[in-house]
Amino acid sequence: MRRHAYTHLALRGANLTIGLQMRNFYNQVLAGSGAGGLLGHKRFHLSDYSVHSRASFSFSLHCFSNRTLNTECVNGEGLQNRAIGDGALFLHVTGREFVNHPPVWIWSLLPSVTSLQSGLQYSCDNAQITDSDERRSFVGAATDGWSAVACMDFFRIDVVSNASLSLSARKMWAFFDDAVLSVTAGIQPSNASANVTTGIEQRILDGR
């Protein structure tokens, strides 16, 4: 959308209030992440998704449960999305941290995601969960609209060279005014010699 189009609507809106709302929305979108009136914590419990916003930053948390799909891969898009719903937590300060960054991501090291480094090649074939054991019910969050604590009973299976390797963990996120605390406990791979990682951050270096 172009700047003059918003201005035009604002000036010619039959309802001045709507015009002002449009202008505020425009300013919010272009002013960067966290600007404007969308402050607080919003839990979309039907989507297993949370947004935590303050004036200078926001976090988004992507989970899945037995009530939601972990991701989708359709029309040749989302080829690496396998772990995007595994408790991925993205920090936005300017809103430009991840611009054009996904092609170079190491997709098994997404922020806050605990992964088996099994050598599994992510693709559309293994993006969406098909094993019901991986779909757990204890996924949710308690929030008063300003702070929140979210949780996820996490269980994933990697099938590599006809062998099934599983990973279980219990995840919790505590959202405060000044920080987000991420906890991963009970990390247990089915194979004791498997290498397990938890991503913390992966963004454009010095990106602003």
Partner: protein, 271 residues
Amino acid sequence: MEGRRRKHFHRYQRLATVSLQFISLFILSSSVLVRLVNDTTIELDAGARVELDTSLLSWVLHNGTIIVVLAASPGTILHVAAASQSGSWSKVTQGPDDVVSLPTFLVFLEHGTRAGPSFAAYAQLPGAYVDAASADAAAAHFLSSVLDSRYGDGEGPFVCRSRANASMVWTVMGAFFKPSRSSSTPQSLCPSISTSAACSFMVALHTSGIISVTISNPNRESAAHSIVVVVRGVRASGPFCAPSPDGTAVTVGLPSGTDSGGSSTVSCSTV
């Protein structure tokens, strides 16, 4: 920074191949600082990586945001990199096969191989922290605000912070994957919390003297209509609050229907 040692990590034995067309990116110094518990500060130049045991780390600073590892199983390794990563749009979506590269700030934990379960807890503090001194102060302030915690218990992790939010004296946040009870150290401000069912919860004492209890039932069991939260060591009264042998029992009704999975909050007045 006087008296403190600084090290420059210019390269690492597994440094990625540098593309000449991106050489300009490596002329600029990185803004990644890694602070160790012995007061050494490592400044990662572009292209550099470092691995260290989490027990040696104080914090990592990049672009104003601090990362602190509060706890981890012994032998957990922290990886920090300020290096170029490459890929193509065709790898992620419909797009060209051309290889693209971008300098990337990458941090992750390697839990290692062990027979029993492992754990880790870390925090991200977004802000405008520009140097080691400001990061030192912020990290120390944050850590001192954590009064009680349990991170290694996969059934009932929780954390209690003081002044976590402007209007709160203390806040206990937890996820009890089964009915459980949090602990509290004798001198801690934080009360012990127990719940009658698996839930995620926030219990906070506000500066106004109000205790608020917020819960949700992630399992969304249709037969569960309420959860009782016992706040030990605190006497409070209100429509949903009743005395218990060592504190206050707060009964919180759960949302139902399409709101099942949402949160409920009740308040009590401390006496």
